[in-house]
């Protein structure tokens, strides 16, 4: 049931449409939660049926109409309760590390390429995160309470990203010592 709460969390600050939520799950929120647009649309229907979200259609000139969802009071309460429940999920699955277990002279170059690619993706992401930090969270201790939590999630993303870059460098250095087949 965690996707439901992820969606409601994304709606705390602003009402959003399915595609806007989808984009959030690819960028900011995407660091610690992923969901496809298909999942999101399904879940939005379920949540609206449950009475945790309300739904309204917004006319747009020169664009398809958006269907915008917002938290109801019941939704806010369900979300607040959920925070006190048991926290279970902390899954991390990474095929790349699995593949490294299979390292040999034949595939070393291939794996090095994959790591290089990921390094670049992470740099890109870090650049965005750092920009957000500078512009909105320069002085964490002075933030309003809820924003402190958002800042901490951002900080987790940034420090994980920096650690990852360093690991990539170590990995590429070590892989370069593997003699090609």
């Amino acid at each position: 049931m965690a996707l439901a709460h992820a969606i409601m969390t994304a709606l705390l600050d602003a009402d959003l449409s399915g595609s806007e939520l989808s984009r959030d799950f690819e960028t900011s929120l995407g660091f610690f939660w992923q969901a496809s647009h298909q999942q999101i649309y399904q879940e939005l229907h379920k949540l609206a049926d449950k009475g945790w979200l309300n739904r309204r259609e917004v006319q747009q000139s020169g664009k398809p109409n958006r269907i915008v969802y917002g938290l109801t009071q019941a939704g806010r309460e369900a979300l607040a309760d959920w925070v006190f429940g048991k926290t279970r999920m902390q899954s991390a699955k990474d095929e790349l590390l699995l593949k490294l277990y299979n390292l040999n002279a034949q595939n070393a170059q291939h794996l090095a390429n994959e790591i290089t690619q990921r390094r670049e993706d992470m740099m890109q992401r870090l650049y965005l995160y750092e920009k957000v930090r500078r512009t909105h969270y320069a002085e964490p201790a002075a933030l309003p309470t809820r924003h402190k939590g958002v800042y901490l999630a951002l900080a987790a993303g940034i420090s994980h990203g920096e650690q990852f870059l360093a690991w990539c460098d170590e990995a590429l250095a070590l892989l370069s010592t593997v003699e090609p087949a």
Copy 2:
């Protein structure tokens, strides 16, 4: 299909039974791949049917018999091929960070407790990882090729863990500035 390859990877060095695999997925491998025993038993049957694993029963005095699985030649080849395919999964889902988005004066203490708990779990895990590194991977550049890959996965776990501890400290410090309700 990645669970199949995770299991085969775990069987590269030694033949294992379902419960032994299960334990591996909780500890070493568990850092970047998780699987329940139910999933593992199901997948073992599938893989044996496919001819990628062989299966033999080992009599044990004073214990239930173990059913031990090992890679076949076909399994080794399928695994080697898989390394060259597209690497998609890098999912990370963490309810705790999601909950931090919902930070307020009421739940700050609860969240601080959860972070403290996770910090201790991670310390425990790091202690094990560091011990393995010291005893088996003291000089990475001198390792045989495949072990270099295993080392890199371990190194990813360790540096991620260290980063996480630092983040926990930052988080606890900032949470302590939230006035209780």
